[in-house]
């Protein structure tokens, strides 16, 4: 199967992708796309701030390092162009709010053009909680520069000092004589280009009027009426439907193939390219019938399973510590170049009252976005256009360029707002397949993966083995700390607690399954381990888990959310009993600070656990949209319950054994607890992303609550799966 396109796709960690890729603007003559108005571009380092005015419309080249731009047309309508993708995190809304704010326009005046590689500047992709801290300020800078350029245009037209003019509601006014002109009028229908640096002053968060408010989801009405077209909803004239033959296991080799029955079907075309075998048909039903009619025999080699996965990982360590870590997770002490299987010895612990060593595990889990991978591909006039759901439109463009030996200018990827991703849609698998089928068919082809395909042939959140050692002095002071992670990654590995010479290490290993990013990366696994272990240490030394954390924590932002969550939850009065447990956990990464308190109910026989209430406090700088922030935190908690208690990919010998929602249990309505979100708004701090780190607290908070009630410590995620995970001691609890 190694020659199958999806297997040929090397899953590079997103942070290794060169963000300085040049945008081939000159080839596209991009400015022809626009009518009159003002186009504002932001350059990286250079300061090219030019006076807005008639003299500078002649510039028809835009620097290659432009990362986004804003166009204000002759009617004053504002379009913002960015390569970021809307996948449910609602950046279409939050980015537009920020542009509206700086341009002093109402929210509705802004249209976001996103994820279309022919219309937007290059962007590496939407991951790592980078949209808010990076794209947000860029767009704000551009909008602020545009505002300044418009003021200067007005000043020139009126021959007055720009400093005497005011801006409101899309108009520049002269208070001295009540003259005013709209943004559109100011451009006089000409094509003006302003190339600006990021020096224009931004409106501070404490003066925000549009940013900072709970603006509802942009185009929300399209979603409740079914009008929004997701990637799998795209339809083209003459479009055919494709299906791809899947092997019966990973790394399989094809022994025999009989396609006669499929080829006899009316309108069916068989497509074969090496081991890539697919069909196209005039309708989806026939495509399904045709692929099912193909007789193929495969040999699948013996491969690891859940039963022996952690032993396998320990025996297959790889050099290098790159892995799937986040950009800001640096080892607190340089990792050994050649990882050994043994955790290094603890520092001297003479004064230690207690020493503990424990090991925690997480399983492979699936993103299971409700919209599976889908693409519609069209070859027309020497150009390939693909509509697909991806978090990396330009990455998918590059995959298509490589797969079909094209130039970037010959490929256009369009990413309609899609049915979620959670880090699971970085690759262009369906896009490449649909394009191959469309090329053979000579017609546009739609390919929608089945749920089983999505569960099997997409990629997984890696499994992980975390080994921890710690020592605590009699007064509760942490005096030694070691934390290693094998396979899943180094994100969230550094401890925020005060301890001298902590040792954290990441060990890369050979994954038997295709793996890559998942919301918060390894932060979930590492926080589960660290915050569970902190709880174990607290209990061992006889301290309240909150008091123990406070004693060893001085990071003010983390302390603030910890205290806020505990206060709202009523931690001081929360005394666990055999039927009711209370747990707490906290963490920080990528500028997000989170603390989570959970209350669980345990039935009389101590066999079932139910999460009753979760309070989560969150702080990520100045809040751009409090409603969106609450939504992300609540969603992260509910989704996190899946990995914490229920979800595990069961696999063996190259097969996924539970590739259906019936057997891969995800959180449902009856699983969702009462959720309360406390937001801390730090208007004095830059805004950070919030799509990921809200997920890291729930698993340890729940595990700690179960321990508080029952005395049973659960060190393997999922903690209460509906079917036992082979290789793990069966959990005494069902969820």
């Amino acid at each position: 199967m190694k020659t199958l396109p999806i297997e040929a796709v090397e899953l590079a960690p997103p942070d290794s992708i060169n963000p300085l890729h040049c945008f081939q603007l000159d080839r596209r003559n991009f400015l022809k796309l626009f009518g009159g108005g003002l186009l504002v571009c932001l350059t990286g380092e250079q300061t090219l701030a030019q006076e807005a005015g008639r003299g500078f419309g002649g510039r028809q080249q835009v620097p290659a390092d432009v990362s986004a731009w804003i166009h204000i047309d002759a009617d004053g309508k504002v379009s913002v162009f960015t390569g970021k993708a809307e996948i449910g995190q609602n950046i279409r809304t939050s980015l537009a709010q920020q542009v509206a704010e700086e341009l002093m326009l109402p929210f509705d005046a802004i249209t976001m053009v996103m994820g279309d590689t022919d219309l937007v500047p290059y962007d590496a992709g939407t991951f790592g909680s980078q949209t808010t801290p990076q794209m947000g300020p860029r767009l704000r800078s551009m909008a602020a520069a545009a505002r300044q350029a418009l003021i200067e245009l007005a000043a020139k037209q009126w021959s007055v000092d720009a400093a005497t003019l005011t801006v409101a509601e899309g108009r520049v006014s002269n208070p001295a004589n009540k003259q005013s002109l709209s943004y559109g009028q100011l451009t006089r229908g000409e094509k003006l280009v302003a190339t600006v640096s990021s020096t224009a002053p931004l409106i501070p968060a404490n003066a925000w009027k549009v940013a900072g408010t709970p603006v509802p989801k942009a185009n929300g009405r399209e979603f409740v009426t079914g009008k929004h077209k997701y990637p799998s909803d795209i339809s083209l004239p003459g479009m055919m439907f494709g299906k791809v033959l899947r092997a019966t296991g990973f790394n399989a080799t094809l022994d025999s193939l009989d396609t006669a029955a499929a080829e006899k079907m009316s309108g069916v075309k068989l497509v074969r390219d090496g081991d890539f075998i697919g069909v196209v048909a005039p309708d989806a039903y026939t495509a399904e019938q045709a692929i099912a009619a193909i007789q193929a025999k495969w040999t699948v080699p013996a491969q690891p399973s859940n039963q022996n996965i952690f032993e396998y990982l320990k025996n297959n360590l790889e050099s290098g510590s790159g892995g799937f870590g986040s950009q800001d997770a640096r080892p607190q002490r340089a990792a050994a170049p050649a990882p050994s299987t043994a955790v290094p010895a603890a520092p001297s612990t003479d004064s230690a009252a207690i020493q503990l060593a424990q090991q925690y595990t997480v399983q492979y889990i699936a993103h299971a976005p409700l919209e599976p991978r889908a693409a519609v591909a069209q070859w027309k006039d020497g150009k390939l256009t693909v509509w697909t759901g991806t978090q990396r439109p330009f990455g998918v463009r590059d995959e298509l360029v490589a797969a079909f030996h094209l130039t970037p200018a010959q490929v256009r990827v369009i990413q309609p707002d899609m049915g979620s991703g959670y880090g699971g849609k970085h690759t262009g698998d369906a896009a490449v397949e649909a394009a191959r089928l469309a090329k053979a068919a000579g017609a546009p082809v739609k390919l929608v993966w089945t749920r089983e395909e999505e569960f099997t042939w997409a990629y997984f959140r890696p499994a992980g083995l975390m080994e921890l050692k710690g020592s605590v002095a009699r007064d509760g002071t942490l005096i030694a700390w070691e934390h290693s992670n094998t396979l899943s990654g180094n994100a969230g590995l550094p401890t925020p607690y005060n301890v001298a010479n902590p040792i954290t290490q990441y060990h890369a290993s050979r994954s038997p399954l295709r793996q890559s990013s998942y919301r918060a990366l390894a932060s979930t696994a590492n926080h589960f381990a660290r915050e569970s272990f902190m709880d174990e240490l607290a209990h061992a030394i006889g301290m309240d888990p909150l008091a123990f954390r406070r004693k060893n924590l001085t990071e003010p932002r983390l302390l603030a959310v910890l205290n806020a969550a505990a206060d709202k939850f009523g931690w001081a009065a929360a005394k666990s009993t055999p039927s009711k447990g209370f747990g707490i956990a906290c963490g920080m990464e990528k500028g997000g600070h989170v603390a989570t308190c959970a209350e669980v109910a345990i039935d009389a026989a101590a066999t079932t656990v139910k999460i009753m209430r979760v309070v989560q406090a969150w702080e990520s700088g100045a809040i751009i949209n409090p409603d969106g922030l609450r939504n992300q935190n609540m969603g992260a908690i509910v989704q996190g319950i899946g990995g914490a208690l229920l979800e595990a990919i069961l696999f063996g010998d190259g097969r996924i054994l539970n590739p259906h929602f019936e057997s891969y249990r995800v959180p449902r309505f009856t699983d969702a607890p009462q959720v309360e979100i406390v937001l801390l708004d730090r208007k004095d701090l830059p805004s950070s992303g919030a799509g990921e780190i809200g997920i890291v607290g729930i698993a340890p908070a729940v595990g700690n609550a179960i321990f508080a009630a029952t005395g049973t410590r659960l060190r393997d995620m999922p903690m209460a799966p509906s079917t036992p995970v082979p290789g793990l001691t069966p959990s005494p609890f069902k969820f």
Binding site: G88, F223, V224, N631
Partner: protein
Amino acid sequence: MSDFVLNVNGAKMRVSAPGDETLLSVLRNRLDLTGTKYGCGEGECGACTVLMDGQAVHSCQILVADAAGSKITTVEGLEQSGKLTAVQQAFLDAGAMQCGYCTSGMVMRATALLHELPSPSEAQIRSRMNGNICRCGTYPRIIEAVRQAAHSTAKGGAR
């Protein structure tokens, strides 16, 4: 291939399809009614929920031959003269979505639920909606939206 006349959103629609093609596939791929979503094709996620004679069904589990003759309502058929139903409006008001891919199925399920139980308890909402998955985890907001829709309907708001 057989010819069927489907009654969808109050309109008679002629369609040529094999009798064992699913209603979901016919709606999406032959009638271009893509508001109804494919999520699993196995009746496990609820993304494909439509109303058949007022009952919420998984359209991926209904064969087109069995749907002919029934009154089918999809999410596209709820809005009347530009006015959203109470359920649609409540989903907007409660911000009960993230990516929105589950929303049409949720709206259809909630519509059927409130038709049957005009003022459901929270437990009833949870159990009746439990066949619909939201991977973004917005269940608490969807529960709130259903409550709001029940409330506004009781007050004589939108139908």
